[in-house]
Symmetry: D2
Subunit: 294 residues, 4 copies
């Protein structure tokens, strides 16, 4: 592939011409929201799609830059898809917000954690004060970036996970897409964790059930297109032949983002944080959680 | 022109094939730093270059992302070129940092103001405490962005200028370049102020000597390439003919930045702020000013 | 007075023993919220209270640190009191957020502006898109602090006011209270503008109808107690006699804030910004405005 | 004790009337800087001082709010005292910056980490590029606050320490002092780690050699005085007798800070970060490290 994308959906489009053994697709519409589920079932599918065995759910929301209501169908569809990926029970969940707070399109993960309803430290007595028998324990961490911490996000998360023993881990990260049209209107959820080499930076090694010992749900929003990928895309659409493309200058160190990337990140963070909050605390009203975290 | 650039240098490259009446170019090397001066002398030059009559100085520094010493030739060359553009005397100077703090590549102006040595409020007695007879009065403002303030930067700056009556105004802004190679290694100074419609956003109307009544020096660093411009550039380099280019999808709402844009902005801001500080306070040591502002 | 306070209410308490000519008080309860209005009617009242002629409204809200709903009686009472102080009509309003963003208890003004619905730049056609014939023009400015800008907030605001000619100006600032019990549960509104020498810093000269030429509404929340004031308060309550107090070390350069000052500022900013937004845009739903600004 | 302080020095002052078994004091002056070392040698000393067995070094620097040169005697004295506390060798060091970034006086730890020269991820080949055979591996973490993460700082640090196995841990935190005169001019270093219940918040459980398995050096700067402590201090100095003091209102939820706390935190963070950086990388010039981290 002459491009880079973190979206299973975009990888499937590339290989879509004929059906592939080991890749099952399913599409549905819920409250006007398109939900596209790709399941990779064997190593043949893994190889074809370039993504590990597991489930990849793509939710196409209304563009995040719209001044739309937070408590919209997008939120509830996301919440329900996330619930479907989480293991049963009410065990502790560790949520990690990957990325670099100082680079706007990479700040998605850290911003989500700032809106997370962390509850692991709240005693049951306090929960009873607000009319609940107990609160599901939730913890949040912003691991930071390798250049600033000297540690991979995977090291920080696995160290903490060993200490607090969560029943599941959720990792949030900004993603790279192939197409600029997808930026700011897509959320990908998967149960395969996060593999290295994607997004804005390169701030991770594999974080998944194998490395952490518990289910790992990844939530991502495409916020950038790789400079090289955009260049390929433009040339391909213009009908330039492949050999010419290969020799061009490919803008390796560049990234492409919407000009309104700050508004996009702000709204995407609120949507994802609240989808997590409402999925983990089904007994609480969304408005009540929002009042606590903001 | 099928591209957008705020750099006079890049506009000249486009029309460079033959000499143009009204556009005078001069190139020199100072301490290993290339300084390219373009002077637009008449309306013919204005039309050819698409830039108003005046002087445009481009300083090619070492890449800002290098961990180089702040007190390097780049700083002193910039300082001296800025001095050459400033009116004589020791009158008050108002420095305005344009742009959006919340979008990393557009945060150059606001960051510079955070490192400005503002002195207009310091009485002469205090200046004498540090061994100077007086300090040149300097004021700084971050006008913010239209969407947040409801006002054009030009309105805010002209309102304040009328009130405090500076002898000159310096405006700092992030610029758009045509070529990704120029991002993070070029500073443009001019005595023509700033014209609308450039940079990351569209956060200004004309700010120049005509509108403010005093000389206006603009200092800019290219931090983005317009998505549409990049697309044209890529296609042109690949030899795609013009008619095909025009019909392509041109990524109007996208911008292209280096992946390390946060480090670039940080270092460019320090360099420009210190060039201004040392140009306006020639009696002080750079290190002493740096100690005050940081 | 051996203490410093920006609250008319606390000044009246000090002189409360007998009725004063020129100071009229009125207290009411609206939806469970106490609203205390002090009117200074002549120079005798001015002298007694140490506050200029005008109206001072103190709204005692539920503590800002409570996780209470934003759209509560507090919001609507504040909105209505603010409406009562604003001049009739739908002219442009300039809102200025005073204070220092880098010192938590002084960041109230800047935070409010970040949540202001600025509309002065929005054409009527866009307003019609959301079903309104027009939007009242609102502009917002964060003047910054003297040490960083070299300019008084009053200079910046009056320069801008002269340029954009608003029909009224609203200034928001953190206030100093005498009593720590008032921090985080009181909002003071007045039609007398802001006088120098209060709050956390000393970041202003007089900003009022006389200096700006249009009505100036001040909105403030006490977020600090002066170190010296606290010392006096403690000693007085302990029955220490006045001469001993005067000779003590009075902690002039210190300020006292609640330990949870960050949460207090966050919530107070949202409450005040939304009170302003809903007062200036009565045709819009509060929830719709909130969706736009956050 | 009727007050709260994190400074061993201030605890010793309280009990200073006669010599105590198990508490050894030593005072020296280096380059004009006072260095006061208290060693607690047995459980009797522990009980008398209320501090665990170990060494407490207090360095009295020039006030951090002075615009003094960073590369001053204060820096080198701090660096040398820190070197004395660190275990021999060139093993990995984990540096943790405790506290709440959103509350100015509590932001010391996080700010220090932003200026840390993290090197654990830098391969030896890169070190050789800058003329060194290798760089000592250094990692940094900002654990955040309990209310936002749901985890104690001690849990996060011990989880990470178990993962990356450092040879020593340095924890940085804002401290509470008894006396406002100490704010912004004192640094305390100790080899006893950090015990709960101090500083601005309550954001930690014990972090020491016993809990982490490696030496733990704590570095702290007093940035606040507890409201209750200030009240006691004021009353005691005014000669109020003890029984009266006990019944007064003691401002439990309040904290006292200098009005210029932002400048204090900024400068203290630079000083401490650079003391750590120069202690851990003795082969590098301070200026070169500063150029890398800022």
């Amino acid at each position: 592939m002459n491009f880079r994308t973190d979206l299973a959906l975009e990888r499937r489009e590339y290989i879509d011409k004929h059906s592939i053994d080991g890749v099952i697709s399913h599409k549905k519409t819920v409250s006007g929201i398109t939900v596209d589920t790709i399941t990779v079932t064997n190593s043949q599918g893994e190889k074809a799609l370039g993504k590990p065995i597991g489930t990849y759910i793509t939710v196409e929301t209304v563009p995040f830059t719209n001044n739309s209501d937070l408590f919209s169908p997008s939120l509830y569809v996301l919440r329900d898809e996330l619930k479907g990926l989480l293991p049963k029970g009410k065990g502790c969940v560790l949520v990690a917000g990957l990325g670099n707070e100082d680079i706007t399109p990479d700040a998605l993960g850290p911003r989500c954690i700032s809106l997370l309803f962390a509850t692991r430290h709240i005693p049951d007595e306090l929960a009873r004060d607000i009319g609940l028998s107990s609160l599901r324990p939730v913890a949040g961490i912003v691991p930071g970036v390798l250049g600033k911490t000297g540690m991979e996000s995977s090291e920080i998360i696995s160290g903490i996970a060993k200490k607090i023993e969560p029943s599941a881990v959720i990792v949030i990260d900004a993603l790279a897409a192939r197409s600029t049209e997808r930026l700011g209107r897509t959320v990908q959820l998967s149960n395969t964790g996060i593999s290295p080499g994607s997004g804005v930076g390169n701030h991770r090694q594999t974080i998944n059930e194998e490395t952490l010992g518990v289910p790992v749900i990844a939530i991502g929003v495409p916020t950038v297109v790789d400079g090289r990928t955009l260049a390929f895309d433009i040339l391909e659409k213009a009908g330039v032949d492949e050999s010419t493309i290969k020799s061009s200058d490919m803008k390796d160190s560049m990234m492409v983002t919407p000009k309104e990337v700050d508004a996009l990140i702000e709204r995407a963070s609120r949507l994802i944080a609240m989808a997590i909050n409402t999925a983990l605390h089904p007994d609480m009203e969304g408005e009540d959680i929002l009042a606590v975290v903001s």
